[in-house]
């Protein structure tokens, strides 16, 4: 589904990603772990099409197509979804309007009919129930005045609504208390399916107790320095990133 080959990315004069390799198949859940500043969000944003980052080398294939050539909204329409580490507030725009615009844009791209207000509401209410989201959210401006936890939950809710094929979660766990974490995790687990791949980016191992990944990759200073199964997360938790970094030179690139 997703293949990242030798990806180099910079922002301004700062080189952030220095040769990332990663292959993700449909149906798999991968976790990318790494210390602050290692380039996790950069990777997520580049996959989503953020223009502030410049890809200087390498390529990214998504379902066989050159992902880097697509505009961000095209990627979204093709099924790429990123849950933002810092969801953006859009004052004045109600969540209902926003979600309806997003859903219909994506439906159009998939050749489905647009939903009218009634159909949209029915669908939204059904998804709300699953994630325990308050219906009042619809009338509030997008993310405006939301608590940290509400914002993160809203991201997962949007993901459930838009039914992407590639889900990228950028530190969705940070700032969540344990109850919220469980809700988010069950929302994500509910989306696991053979046709869908999920990339869980996190700094802590905690989330991975609830969303159990098939593979774990460790990103340090812009490179994937180790890859392994879910036990790698526990090892990291124990030893910390420093030790892993020590072995960085010898580590195989995160290929499978």
């Amino acid at each position: 589904m997703l293949e990242i080959k030798n990806l180099y990315v910079k922002a301004g004069n700062h080189e952030i990603l220095k040769g990332v390799h990663l292959k993700v198949n449909a149906g798999e859940v991968h976790s990318i772990m790494g210390p602050n500043g290692s380039g996790k969000s950069t990777l997520a944003q580049v996959l989503a099409g953020r223009e502030t980052y410049e890809v200087t080398r390498g390529e990214v294939l998504y379902e066989g197509k050159n992902l880097l050539e697509m505009a961000p909204e095209e990627r979204a329409c093709e099924g790429v979804f990123m849950a933002f580490q810092y969801p953006v507030e859009i004052p004045g725009v109600s969540s209902a309007q926003f979600l309806k615009a997003a859903l219909n844009a994506i439906r159009r791209a998939r050749g489905l009919e647009e939903l009218d207000a009634m159909e949209f509401l029915a669908l939204v209410k059904q998804k709300f129930k699953v994630l325990g989201v308050d219906e009042k959210l619809l009338h509030r401006s997008v993310n405006e005045g939301f608590s940290g936890g509400e914002k993160k939950r809203n991201e997962i809710f949007q993901m459930a609504l838009l039914e992407p094929r590639l889900c990228i979660l950028d530190e969705t766990d940070s700032g969540l208390d344990i109850d919220a974490l469980k809700i988010v995790a069950s929302g994500v687990n509910g989306l696991r399916s053979p046709g869908r791949a999920i990339l869980v980016i996190t700094h802590y191992q905690r989330l991975l107790n609830y969303i159990i990944p098939d593979y774990v990759h460790v990103l340090v200073e812009g490179r994937i320095v180790r890859s392994g199964g879910k036990e790698l997360a526990l090892e990291l938790e124990e030893k910390g990133y420093a030790l892993i970094e020590g072995g960085a030179g010898a580590a195989a690139p995160g290929r499978r």
Partner: protein, 480 residues
């Protein structure tokens, strides 16, 4: 790299869809302004002697005053002798709509304003003003059954002399300001509405102004009188062809609301704004004022200003009757090199008078948007209240927003609230929308419409939709 401007950069060709010219034989006065010009206009319109005298007084006063310079708009000097003050489609006396030149009907059809009554939006009566004359007024008879007068100003000046004479200049005197004085001397047409006591006008009244002829000015005058207990909702729309030269539009609108009367006045102003380099466009210098004369009277201005190279207007309310209410809801958008200096004045004279001001300024491209608002609470206005909210939205980093609130309070019981904000459409907001499948243009429209919603909901239904569309067209190309 800055987070704010990358995606929302330069402004490219924005299309103005109303820029065509109607090929029609016109009767155009030679350029120039003197007493003979005024006599010519007055005689073309078969006006009574007193009206000519009034015009001449205005003209003589105009000669003694200077164009104002306090506003925050910049333009080369206007050559008042280079303008033609009268242009009209050649025609015979019209008895009915069937006699209107088909070319004119087609023009309005193209503009989305069919004048044949059976085709009209039900519930909207239209007066169509083409350059200096009113070409058609629809639903007149139906309204007349209720005693409502809705006709062109020229017709009113002949047929309803007593009313016109009583109210003309009673809100905006001919000495009011440079542009209003000029208008008083040379105004050509406009609409007149009179709603008798206790009558609620059953349909929207609407005037559609169209500038067509080159090198002409448009100087229309609208007068609306609402007798005690009556209600009326009135809407005006405006467009003009695309021309490289600037054209002057200086209108005056006077509203009078008696006891318990209610006037709702909505404007969708879409005069040609000039091209993307700032060439051409209408100079829109307008004086609009309402007098809440009676107790519990209510005047509400709603405006969506997307057109014109320069907009200079301050629809205002004089709250004279006790418990009277004045409202001003405004969206002003400037893109490319447009400039707008707009706002309102609320003058509280009576007791327990209330006013609400909601101003939304949107600047894109090199657009400059100034809000200028005055709230005056006079000595006897015990219990007066004002609420002002003034928000600016910036798109890109070459545009500007400016706010000048003036407040004068002479009664200590007054309660004033003022809120202001400036925000910018950020790249991160656009990207967030993109990531959810929404294109840049749609994202900007979504954000802009959200920003304007408090104003849009004041517009009559049919026009709220139109206003949204207009805004999105006006912003076309404002995102890179």
């Amino acid at each position: 790299m800055s987070t704010s401007t990358n995606a929302i950069e330069a402004l490219v060709n924005r299309e103005y869809k109303w820029g065509f010219v109607t090929e029609i034989e016109q009767d155009v006065a030679p350029p120039g302004l003197n007493e003979d010009t005024i006599r010519l206009i007055s005689s073309k319109k078969n006006e009574p002697e007193w009206l000519l005298e009034w015009r001449l007084k205005a003209y003589r006063h105009w000669l003694t005053i200077k164009e104002p310079t306090w506003h925050n708009v910049h333009y080369p000097p206007i050559d008042y002798q280079g303008i033609s003050y009268y242009a009209a489609p050649k025609k015979k006396e019209l008895q009915s709509l069937d006699e209107v030149d088909p070319e004119l009907l087609r023009t309005y059809e193209k503009l989305g304003i069919p004048l044949e009554e059976q085709k009209m939006l039900t519930g909207v009566a239209v007066d169509a003003v083409f350059d200096s004359v009113s070409v058609a007024t629809t639903f007149k008879e139906k309204l007349a059954e209720l005693g409502i007068i809705f006709c062109s100003f020229s017709e009113a000046a002949q047929e309803h002399q007593e009313l016109v004479r009583k109210y003309l200049g009673s809100v905006v005197p001919y000495t009011d300001n440079f542009f209003a004085t000029l208008n008083s001397a040379v105004f050509t047409d406009g609409s007149f509405c009179y709603i008798p006591k206790g009558v609620r006008c059953p349909m929207e009244l609407s005037t559609y102004f169209r500038i067509n002829a080159a090198s002409t000015g448009q100087f229309e005058r609208t007068l609306i009188v609402a007798e005690p207990g009556s209600h009326v909702s009135y809407l005006e729309g405006c467009t003009a062809p695309m021309r490289d030269e600037n054209q002057l539009h200086a209108a005056v609108v006077e509203l009078i609301a008696h006891d318990d009367a209610r006037i709702k006045y909505s404007t969708i102003q879409n005069w040609y704004p000039g091209d993307k380099d700032g060439k051409g466009g209408i100079y829109n210098f307008v004086t609009k004022r309402g007098k809440c004369l009676g107790r519990n009277s209510h005047i509400s201005w709603t405006q969506v200003e997307t057109g014109s190279a320069i907009t200079w207007k301050y629809p205002s309310c004089m709250l004279i009757g006790d418990n009277s209410v004045g409202e001003f809801y405004s969206v002003a958008l400037t893109n490319n090199y447009q400039q707008a200096d707009t706002g309102t004045k609320m003058i509280h004279v009576g007791k327990n008078t209330r006013s609400t001001i909601v101003s939304k300024g949107i600047s894109a491209g090199h657009g400059q948007n100034t809000y200028r608002g005055g709230v005056k609470i006079l000595k006897n206005a015990t219990g007066a209240r004002n609420y002002t909210q003034c928000d600016s939205l910036l798109i890109g980093d070459k545009c500007g927003a400016h706010t000048f609130p003036y407040i004068e309070v002479k009664n200590s019981t007054a309660r004033m609230e003022h809120e202001a904000s400036t925000s910018k459409i950020g790249d991160d907001q656009i990207f967030y929308c993109n990531q959810r499948g929404i294109t840049k243009e749609d994202a900007v429209n979504l954000i802009v419409n959200g920003f304007c919603k408090e104003v849009f909901r004041e517009l009559p239904m049919e026009f709220a939709v139109e206003a949204q569309k207009l805004l999105s067209v006006s912003l076309e190309g404002s995102v890179g």
